[in-house]
Amino acid sequence: MKILNLLRTSTFQLAVMYMVLFATSVFILMGFIYWATAGYMSSQTDETIEAEIIGLAEQYQRQGLNGLISVIRERVARDPNGKSIYLFTARDFIKLAGNISKWPEDGEVQDGWLNFTLDDGLGWPTAESRPARARIFIVPGGLRLLVGRDVNDFMAVKELVERAINFGMAITFALAMFGGIMMSRSTSKRVELINQTSQNIMRGNLSLRIPDRGTNDEFDQLARNLNEMLDRIVHLMEGVRHVSDNIAHDLRTPLTRLRNQLENTLLTVDRDQDREQVGKSVAEADQLLATFNALLRIARLEVGDKVSNFKTFDLSGLAQDAAELYEALAEDKQQKFSIMIEPDVSIMGDRDLLFQTLCNLIDNAIKYTPEGGEIDISLTSNENETFLSVADSGIGIPEEERVHVFQRFYRVAKSRSLPGNGLGLSLVLAVMDLHQGKITLTDNEPGLRIELQFPKQAIALEHKL
């Protein structure tokens, strides 16, 4: 799988292209060397043979047949096992002189040149058969002259060069392949690092930055630019958040004072009608305060410095408590309230925040489900994750609205008439982010199913950083 991924990277594809180009040029270069060496050597041989033929032909003209025979004999005697091959035959291939015993039969003749094999059959004193090349000259009167050379050495060199070329090509391919993999590995590692970091950042860890290798190459420049972009984003986000948080914070105190004054008034007014009015105003002020508190709470959670309060606790017990707290409320609405809680599931986190989260979800489920509906709460876990879900048979959330419900103050169109401040799910999201969990909203057909998913290991480890 990993290798497959590597093969798919553009760096690797580039490396392969480079490898093909490189191998082709090596091949051409080697081919040229081969052509030059082999060509030079074979023309050398041919020239030597030609020169000898010319020499013998001159002898023949000057001294006739006997002269030619004696020159051949003389040359053979001078160098009996040399590279030169001579054979002079009379009509019917009867040997007159030379150092091979009979006319070679297996060779092929081309333009007066003959390529044949020297072996015992030709009376050549050698253990193995050797390649040879010769020029055939037909003397008038049915006489034939063969002058050739043992080209074994030349063939050996040619073979050597061929082998060198094959070997070289193989090594080139292997090296280019290896280099390509190494090259794409190192670049894809760096790209992967950038990818992973940005994914973590997208998951909400905005304080992360892409590490800089200090080599000042284009990857470092890319990393630095991305980091600067992130700094800018964080700066802008903080600006926006500060404004809204400051408003909430600054209005909280005067609002409390207003509320308390109203409450004091409640003690002094006598008429029932007035009391009711003032009471309503107090409730209204309480609602506003609750909204501000929720807003500030989310803001504090999003800063993400609350993990110091993380402890391992019994999530099953917590779910049981929340279910028990709300069961009565559901029963009042004649809703079927069923719980399926796996016992002894522990989790690392903030107990009160998670209780608040679960209560928000159950509260919503009861609120948005008509009388006689169904509410299901379940807690399950496997090796890696813990799932806590609240499902209802209520009005649900249309799919296109599901992405928006976590925004602050967002209310689903169908439910704007019901009380609520549009902060409940924002708080849930903030709490889940803090716990590195995930939230999924799905259609419960009918209704809504919200599933909270907690990783089992990650929280404990990552928060120690």
């Binding site: 909280r252 105190t253 609002l255 409390t256 004072r257 509320r259 308390n260 409450e263 004091n264 409640l266 009471g279 107090v282 409730a283 309480d286 305060l289 609750a290 508190n293 500030l296 709470r297 504090r300 609350k306 110091s308 309060n309 408590d321 028990e324 707290l325 709300y326 009565a328 409320l329 009042d332 903030d350 107990r351 009160d352 925040l353 209780f355 608040q356 209560c359 928000n360 509260d363 609120k367 609520g420 409940g424």
Partner: protein
């Protein structure tokens, strides 16, 4: 009652002092940490309200100092930091209760009341029996009787009633119930506590002419025999 308020926010302090004086308490006020500590150490109070953030000395240090001298006067910590870890830190530091600003006066009063009663209660012999009018609770047998008639309660209802009976005659707020009976610090979006109270009420009050469990408008509930 003698109450010490150490709070540097003028508005909050004035509001507290005036409110408490109106309820017939003797109130001393200090806006400075060191001066407050001096008062706390030299005078005798029934209860102290101490802000966490103060000039010259922070609230937690004041509490730690007076606790170190053996002074066990109940302390209610006030704080603008409302999160649970701050609360835990405050209570561990020697505070008896914790209230986040902004708070409702009723909530403060209810909590002060509980603190003062706790402070005046001498000796800590184990209570095994509670009674309010003809309502009786046996904490060992975990039974409840009204007018000698046995009432069946769910475990949570039992704990709820136990808390109300232990604080009979005092207003208890919804937040106090959540903290004490359910043991969670959170704030419910709907009055889910009301449902539990009305269930409890239907069990202990419904068949009797005298209603013991009352709702206090804008504050909470009270269990009392004189209603």
């Amino acid at each position: 009652m003698r109450i010490l308020v150490i709070e540097d926010d003028k508005d909050v302090a004035a509001y507290l002092v005036n409110g408490l004086k109106e309820n017939d308490n003797v109130v001393d006020h200090s806006a400075d940490g060191k001066e407050g500590l001096l008062l706390a150490a030299s005078e005798t109070y029934d209860v102290m309200i101490i802000d966490r953030m103060l000039p010259s000395m922070d609230g937690l240090s004041i509490i730690k100092t007076i606790r170190a001298t053996g002074n066990q006067t109940p302390v209610l910590i006030l704080s603008a930091l409302g999160d649970v870890d701050d609360r835990v830190e405050g209570l561990r530091g020697g505070g008896d209760d914790y209230l986040t600003k902004p708070f409702s006066y009723n909530e403060l009063l209810a909590r002060l009341e509980v603190l003062m009663r706790r402070g005046s209660k001498t000796g800590s012999e184990k209570v095994t029996h509670l009674s309010v009018a003809d309502l009786e609770m046996d904490l060992l047998a975990r039974t409840v009787k009204r007018n000698s008639e046995k009432i069946d309660l769910q475990p949570r209802e039992f704990r709820l009633l136990e808390y109300l009976m232990k604080h009979a005659g005092q207003v208890v707020t919804r937040t106090m119930l959540l903290e004490q009976v359910w043991d969670y610090h959170f704030d419910p979006q709907t009055n889910v506590i009301d449902v539990h109270i009305s269930r409890l009420r239907s069990k202990i009050d419904k068949d009797f002419p005298k209603q013991l469990l009352q709702t206090v408008r804008g504050a909470g509930y009270i269990l009392s025999e004189d209603s």
